[in-house]
Amino acid sequence: MKVFIYPTNSLILSDLVERFGHEPLAIMSEIGKRVRSQGLDSPPLNITPEEPKLGLKYAAVEVPSGVRGRMALFDPLLSKADAAIIVRDPVTSFGCMGCARTNELVNFLIRAKKIPLLELDYPSTEEDAKEFVYKISEFLKSLKPAEEKK
């Protein structure tokens, strides 16, 4: 199954989801698609004027274009998500994760989608980490295994 992760650039979540046999939906793949496409109109991420228009699906025109631009990146991930793992209040929010309003909107949209959802906190001790990994493994085991990639 395709599992949306938040923070969407998290190494730990991306690795654990893949390790337990599912496909992580991470922002890196969306950025990669834009960077690898031939002919960059607006480097480095190739966010063209078309992207904020896609973001209009989620946010009004008065909303800063940064939110709409980010939502254009998140849109394919949100629409494909079959399940989600959310880490509450992550310490870092940089780059694509650096907009608090977008993050709130993404969290809201995931909850509104009514898909299997696991909410956790980042571990700060070894005991917390054991609980963190155990909960993720149990959650991912309860989901159907990922379809084999073509």
């Binding site: 998290s10 190494l11 730990i12 390790r19 990669g32 480095p44 700060s124 070894e126 990994v133 155990y134």
Partner: protein, 142 residues
């Protein structure tokens, strides 16, 4: 051709990035490899990179962590060399998560041993009805 770039973050006591690089060169696969301070960046065709990194993970299943990366190694928009230094975007997240990786490694070991951790009780907010009862009790006692 579906090209992909993956980051291999190594937080191991027995495997060094240079060991992994040698192993990757030995495989003679058609991929681009860059050794970095945190591990390795591998770029190439998706099927080749995925199978290659699957075998690399076996070198230390608890000390090697892998994630996808949008930009290829040495991308001028992202590379510090062309951006006149400073932390590259994504570095701070990696730095924060890198500190937790030893805990995650020991948690994965414990999971494989079949350990079930005791779940901590989360502090919940005071219920409104409970607060009303406390107020009534306090008023009655006066």
């Amino acid at each position: 051709m579906d090209t992909i770039t993956k980051m291999v973050v190594i937080n191991s006591q027995k495997v060094l990035p240079s060991d992994v690089v040698i192993k990757l060169y030995e495989s003679n696969a058609d991929v681009m490899i860059k050794e970095t301070c945190f591990g390795i960046i591998v770029s190439g065709e998706r099927t080749i990179v995925d199978s290659l990194l699957g075998s690399i993970r076996k070198m230390d299943p608890y000390g090697i962590f892998i994630k996808e990366r949008g930009l290829a190694p040495g991308e001028p928009y992202r590379c510090r060399a062309t951006r006149r230094g400073g932390a590259r975007p994504g570095f701070h997240t990696l730095e924060t998560e890198d500190k937790i990786l030893p805990y995650i490694a020991s948690a994965l070991k414990a999971l494989d041993k079949g350990e079930v951790p005791q779940q901590k009780k989360r502090k919940t907010k005071l219920d409104v009805e409970k607060l009303k009862e406390i107020i009534k009790e306090a008023e009655a006692s006066q």
